[in-house]
């Protein structure tokens, strides 16, 4: 009994110590990225970056909110050089918390259209995604669909699903409506939409597609890349869902489809600023963009890069013409409106 205890204690101490030391960095030039993304294909890019520049890339991955909170509490002592997360609203928040710093780079300006860069150069978009309508062709004629607002009409009663208001993508969607339609308009949209919900919001974006497939609803509001993921899923049934359903880009005749981004910014207290900027430039370059965006079936932000066949098949579309900062500016208001109109 004693021996067992002793052995166990020894094991614990050794493994704890070794676990502590596992994160130790060497003295090589490196960039530490606090990243929400973690796709296997990214590693190839970082390796290529290392080949070119001899700069090692350390990825710390966690949820976006977690990363922001962590960065915030670490303050000056942070090891992070780059913050890479999705959703312009969140980036606005990171900026607001003074977690990022201004970067000036001709290359970045050249690679990335102005709409998808922060006004003050604190973050740079790397990929785009649109929040579109997904519908079942046997129950919905494509002529029936036009705008987001149209979904609030009588005709769509009990036929619409989307995720909860707590999800950042819906929050940003609403924020964009506040920016474009004003608070009144956004409020009308929210209450009308809630009225037409086929069920109380639940599940993730893929679940919305599945609900449409199942017949619970006819139209879902979701992100483009989930369709890409489902089409390439290892689960044949998911593929079936994605192959059956169709996508529609709303508001083409009016204000444009809602587009959001994933982006990266150099942290305020970065210890390796130059290296971080270099990595950013690399990721925005033609060389890296295709692989980077394709990893998640997203649109590359660099317009010189060819789209992958799937996105190509969906064709060009008109995006909302707003400064993406608005998604952050009106985020709180959007959240309040959704709560007040009963969007759960």
């Amino acid at each position: 009994m004693r021996k067992l205890l002793l052995g166990l204690s020894l094991f614990t101490v050794i493994t704890t110590l070794s676990a502590c030391m596992l994160g130790v960095n060497d003295d090589e030039l490196s960039v530490t990225v606090y990243s929400e993304r973690h796709y296997d294909t990214d590693q190839a890019l970082y390796d290529a970056f290392y080949e070119e520049t001899n700069i090692k890339v350390n990825i710390v991955s966690a949820g976006a909110d977690e990363l922001i909170n962590r960065l915030d509490s670490e303050g000056e002592d942070t090891q992070a050089d780059l913050l890479m997360i999705a959703d312009a609203g969140r980036l606005y928040r990171a900026k607001d918390l003074e977690l990022l710093q201004t970067v000036e780079s001709d290359e970045l300006n050249a690679n990335i259209p102005q709409n998808y860069r922060d006004v003050d150069g604190m973050w740079y978009g790397l990929t785009k995604r649109a929040r579109i309508l997904v519908y079942h062709p046997e129950r919905v004629e494509v002529d029936e669909l036009s705008t987001y607002e149209a979904l609030t009409e009588e005709a769509f009663n009990n036929r619409v699903v989307t995720r909860t208001s707590g999800n950042i993508y819906n929050q940003s969607l609403m924020a964009s409506f506040v920016a474009i339609m004003g608070e009144e308009g956004a409020r009308d949209f929210a209450s009308g939409l809630v009225n037409n919900f086929a069920r109380t919001p639940q599940g993730n974006d893929r679940d919305q597609a599945k609900a449409v497939m199942e017949g619970i609803a006819d139209v879902a509001i979701m992100n483009t890349y989930y369709m890409g993921r489902m089409l390439n899923s290892t689960d044949p049934y998911e593929r079936e869902v994605a192959e059956t359903l169709r996508v529609f880009f709303p508001n083409q005749e009016t204000t444009g489809t809602h587009v959001n981004i994933s982006a990266a910014g150099v942290t305020r207290h970065a210890k390796n600023k130059d290296a971080a900027v270099q990595l950013l430039e690399f990721l925005s370059s033609e060389q890296a963009q295709e692989s980077f965006a394709n990893a998640n079936y997203e649109y590359p932000v660099n317009e010189a890069v060819a789209l992958n066949p799937l996105l190509e098949s969906w064709g060009d579309f008109k995006a909302q013409d707003i400064q993406l900062n608005a998604l952050g500016e009106y985020a709180y208001q959007a959240a309040i409106i959704m709560d007040e109109e009963g969007w759960e």
């Binding site: 166990l8 094991f11 614990t12 493994t15 676990a19 977690e66 049934y237 007040e340």
Partner: protein, 548 residues
């Protein structure tokens, strides 16, 4: 009189009291730190919450805990009763199988069932293949109740089973001699005697339910733990989050208070030798039906989700041999073992401190150290993080003196913070089990040893520990399993890039990569199941049994 006070204080200073006071101090400090935030003026976010959301949160939370409490009470008591009172084929195996759902973290069960009942999931496809138009919407209040009841009923089961096996047959035999029918005996003798155990088990279930975040977030169920994260992340208002935590804590204390009231005063233990209940062989239809019900419970609570996970694992098993995965397991194990040792040690000190004459000081101190279990993981995370950053900043000059290159946030970036949080949160579990064991043996052996010129520490080692060994091991096992399964604290407080099984599962599940989540999930479930197996198959030394 001055001398007397000095004497009295000197008398009370020993290794137990010092450790206990230090432990309580460190536990209270971070909580106190953030409670100060409560005295700031309410923000507009809070007013918004109060007007539109708060009522919903309270109602939903109460519905959830009442339903989960009641149903887990029923299932736990029913299964414990059948397994202890009756004899039937497969009873022995079932008696420890029924504990296994504890090895399944609620959030894993949630993800698996959500997947199975989704359009492309196993269950839906199965129904479609049978042309039965039945689909289950699990992401609802009934669904979440289902998940919690199935993964948490073992707490009640364990408590009731423990109480039943010690319940003297003489009570039942007496009642029979007095002409009472079996049902009447059950209702008027057995169940009332079981009430404390039932209530204690239900309390644990309720506390676990209130703490969960993974399940309610995924199913979009608007309860308090959900509210706290929502206020913190969606509305960006940490002060509102703290306010909500305070309300949640009030609910929890109310629940705990009610439990104490019902349980009554329990310092008194019976040391007479009790005659264990003799099992009755089941006959007729009962022979089939009763065990069948138990097996069905087992299936839904454990076998079905595990089978689904195994199926996914066959597609992603190469992950097992990945070096990263090995690190993952080592990380989880080392942290869990360290936390377990610490908790058991401090719990021992606390339990010893609690013996002897009761005083309000002792009672308050113990309440403080056991506070952690009632506080939602999210709040503990914030409190501990802020506390450690403050501490590091204060002590930086000392670090610097020792080592010029010392990082500023020395403790914060280490495992120390996470382990501290685990100790804060799980102290109560370790303590309760150890205290119960001490309660069973009473004080006489320890006092006899003192009078035989043995120091307090030596007595602890040579007399107390052997006598409470099984309680100690149970405490260690339950704490270990809980640490391995723990999610919110782990996510927020781990050192950068330090992945554990729980954090990895969460990551995959969130990304809807359920197939990849299968392997780490199964490892967690296996480790916990192994611990449960050890827990239930320990050889009981004949001698120790007679302490009761």
């Amino acid at each position: 009189m001055c001398d007397y006070m000095f004497n009295k204080i000197k008398h009370h200073i020993n290794v137990f009291s010092v450790t206990s006071i230090l432990a309580a101090f460190f536990i209270v400090l971070p909580l106190f730190n953030i409670l100060l935030e409560l005295f700031t003026a309410p923000s507009s976010a809070w007013l918004h919450i109060r007007e539109h959301l708060l009522a919903g949160y309270v109602i939903n939370t109460i519905i959830l805990i009442v339903a989960v409490g009641v149903f887990s009470g029923i299932i736990g008591t029913f299964s414990a009763y059948v397994v202890t009172r009756f004899e039937f084929k497969g009873r022995k195996v079932l008696s420890w199988f029924l504990i296994l759902p504890l090895a399944m973290p609620s959030y894993i069960a949630a993800y698996v069932y959500a997947d199975m009942t989704s359009y492309t999931g196993t269950f839906s496809r199965f129904m479609r293949s049978l042309h039965i138009p039945l689909s289950i919407d699990i992401m609802s209040m009934p669904g979440v109740i289902f998940i919690f009841v199935l993964t948490l009923y073992p707490y009640v089961y364990l408590m009731v089973k423990g109480a039943l096996s010690k319940q003297s047959a003489s009570f039942i035999e007496n009642a029979r001699l007095l002409g009472a029918s079996k049902v009447r005996i059950l209702v008027t003798v057995v169940l009332p005697l079981l009430r404390p155990a039932m209530i204690a088990g239900m309390l644990l279930v309720v506390l676990e339910t209130l703490n969960d975040y993974g399940v309610v977030a995924y199913f979009n169920i608007r309860v308090f733990s959900f509210a706290i994260f929502d206020a913190w992340f969606r509305l960006g208002d940490i002060v509102s989050a703290i306010r909500l935590s305070a309300i949640l804590m009030i609910i929890v204390f109310a629940v705990v208070f009610i439990e104490r009231m019902i349980r009554g005063k329990r310092r008194y233990t019976i040391h007479i030798k009790t005659k264990p209940i003799e099992r009755v062989y089941l006959k007729g239809y009962k022979k089939i039906v009763l065990p069948a019900i138990l097996w069905v419970i087992m299936a839904f609570a454990f076998f079905v989700p595990v089978a689904q996970l195994l199926w996914y694992a066959t597609k992603t098993y190469p992950l097992l041999f990945d070096l990263n995965f090995i690190y993952l397991v080592i990380n989880s194990l080392s942290v869990a073992l360290t936390a377990t040792f610490l908790i058991v040690f401090i719990a021992l000190m606390l339990a010893n401190f609690n013996r002897g004459r009761q005083s309000s000081f002792k009672k308050s101190l113990l309440k403080i150290t056991n506070l952690g279990y009632a506080i939602p993981g999210a709040v503990i995370a914030v409190a501990v993080l802020v506390f450690f950053i403050d501490a590091d900043t204060t002590f930086y000059s000392i670090y610097h003196w020792f080592n010029e290159d010392s990082p500023r946030l020395l403790m914060t970036s280490s495992l120390l913070m996470l382990i501290f949080a685990y100790v804060l949160r799980f102290m109560a579990i370790g303590y309760n089990s150890i205290e119960a064991s001490y309660d069973k043996i009473g004080e006489k052996f320890t006092e006899a040893a003192y009078l035989l010129k043995t120091s307090k520490l030596k007595t602890l080692l040579s007399i107390d520990l052997p006598l409470i060994k099984s309680g100690l091991i149970s405490a260690a096992i339950i704490v270990f399993i809980d640490v391995i399964k723990e999610l919110p604290l782990t996510l927020i407080l781990r050192p950068t890039n330090y992945e554990t099984l729980a954090s990895q599962v969460y990551k995959f599940a969130r990304e809807e990569m359920l197939q990849e989540a299968a392997i780490p999930s199964l490892v967690m479930i296996s480790l916990s199941s192994l611990a449960i197996y050890i827990f239930t198959h320990r050889k009981k030394k004949g001698v120790v049994k007679h302490v009761r």
